[in-house]
């Protein structure tokens, strides 16, 4: 009898844990499905299976790897290496010891991007950016003027891949993706200019699709000062004597970065905004700008330019003509 009571007590005691253990994966699956549904892109049904898998895996995939990123600035190509840890919508990025970026850490979650810069003991906090890359890919692949093909792609980082190629109607390659078909992980990606020149790429040189992730992997050093793009913008405006003109707060585009950049020997205040997989940039300079020069722009880029006081403003983005005009008018254009 005592034994029976003991067993009953043990079952009663363990039942909440048991039910919780059963409930957790379901809740996790629901959360991940919700995350997938919240993505600002639609997976076109006609896409090849590997690309569909890749677009569907965003927000759920787990991996750890070493990634080499190459970008092009004019004719100059530059590379850097990153160590990446990814768990669904969270990622942590660090840099090798021999990199000038060593010590910096980037943590991105579904709601924010934190960039720790040890030299200044600062954390730059902005909106998350990862969705933009996949939103653009989904938009481009769903474009009726783009042909998407899939063939075996060989091994990347010792992992077999499928090669998905996007070409335009003229047969020019727009981009290539090497995708691990089981997980949907994009192991290598290349983007090309309109003339067929490689403009940017990344490649994983090592990958682990089943990493052990510790909760402390999402920690950053304590005591660092938080700097937002808005704080940076206010300071740049104050120090550079620029006009305080920015995108309306209720627009769908959030300020991602602000910097003063020398463009064609002119000091230009650059405000980068992103949202809905689109990118909008507001330029401000003391020099005059000729709107008539903005013709035959690539990739559906549109502009709206105006002059106010001693400053010229150019709003540039891959958004609809009426939307860019409305935004420009609201800022005084």
């Amino acid at each position: 009898m005592r034994l029976l009571l003991l067993v009953a007590a043990m079952i009663a005691a363990s039942s909440p844990l048991h039910s919780q253990a059963q409930f957790r994966p379901r809740k996790l699956i629901q959360q991940r499905r919700q995350i997938r549904q919240n993505h600002p892109w639609r997976i076109a049904p006609q896409l090849p299976p590997a690309l569909k898998k890749a677009l569907g895996a965003v927000g759920t995939i787990r991996y750890q790897g070493t990634r080499v990123i190459e970008t092009r600035n004019g004719l100059n190509r530059q590379q850097h290496t990153e160590y990446v840890l990814n768990d669904g919508m969270r990622s942590r990025i660090e840099f090798p010891e021999d990199s000038p970026l060593h010590g910096q850490i980037i943590i991105e979650t579904a709601s924010e991007r934190l960039h720790y810069i040890p030299g200044r003991n600062v954390i730059e906090r902005g909106p998350p950016v990862v969705d933009e890359a996949y939103a653009r890919l989904a938009q481009r692949a769903a474009n009726g003027n783009v042909v998407v093909t899939e063939v075996p792609g060989g091994a990347v980082a010792n992992v077999p891949t499928e090669l998905v190629t996007l070409t335009n109607k003229q047969g020019e390659t727009l981009q290539k993706l090497w995708i691990e078909p089981g997980s949907g992980m994009i192991l290598k990606r290349e983007l090309y200019t309109r003339g067929g020149v490689l403009s940017a790429s990344f490649e994983f040189t090592q990958v682990n699709l089943n990493p052990r992730i510790d909760p402390t992997d999402w920690n950053l050093p304590r005591g660092a000062r938080i700097v937002t793009p808005e704080i940076k913008l206010v300071e740049l405006i104050r120090r550079g004597g620029f006009a305080d003109v920015r995108l309306p707060a209720d627009s769908p585009y959030k300020l991602e970065a602000a910097r003063v950049q020398k463009i064609a020997d002119r000091q230009v205040l650059v405000q980068q905004y992103a949202g809905n997989g689109r990118r909008v940039v507001l330029y401000q300079t003391k020099a005059a700008v000729d709107p008539g020069q903005f013709v035959n722009l690539p990739n559906g880029v549109r502009t709206f330019a105006w002059r106010s006081g001693a400053s010229s403003f150019v709003l540039m983005g891959d958004i609809a003509e009426n939307e860019i005009q409305e935004l420009g008018h609201r800022m005084g254009g």
Binding site: T71, H80, I93, E108, L137, S201, I263, A264, A274, Q293
Partner: protein, 145 residues
């Protein structure tokens, strides 16, 4: 001879004592006595001194205003030759406009390829300043993690 001389003197005295002569003498004596004035000369001296002082001042500042005027003329010429009215300081050859479009394309491409990784602009911004580009203070940044 001596007699003739005495005769002449007597005749002269007689003629001077004539009523007509006396009348003329009285009229001359009645005229007001005038003294010669040099005031005009004094005024002239004052004016000459003022003019000389002004000239000395102009000569003294000449080395400032002459080069300044030269620079002003040269500047005006340069503005007229190289700055086109209505362009407001723009190079006017489309370089700035092309630069803005290239900046947009390059940053958009970099973000698309880097995804959650680091873009060249972020790398530059973060490594530009082993020292801080801004002297943030606690009030500026508001919070700490």
């Amino acid at each position: 001879m001596k007699h003739r001389t005495e005769m002449d003197e007597r005749e002269v005295d007689m003629r001077l004592a004539a009523p007509g002569q006396i009348q003329v003498r009285e009229a001359v004596q009645a005229l007001p006595e005038e003294t010669v004035s040099l005031a005009w000369r004094s005024e002239l001296n004052v004016r000459l001194r003022q003019t000389a002082a002004r000239k000395r001042r102009l000569d003294l500042y000449g080395w400032i205003w002459k080069p300044t005027a030269g620079l002003a003329v040269a500047g005006a010429l340069a503005v007229a030759l190289f700055v086109h009215p209505g362009v407001g300081g723009s190079a006017g050859n489309g370089a700035l406009e092309r630069g803005l479009v290239n900046q947009y394309i390059e940053t958009t491409t970099a973000r698309e390829i880097a995804a959650d990784g680091m873009t060249p602009n972020e790398a530059k911004d973060s490594s530009d300043s082993s020292s801080n580009p801004f002297d943030w203070d606690q009030e500026d940044v508001g919070a700490t993690l």
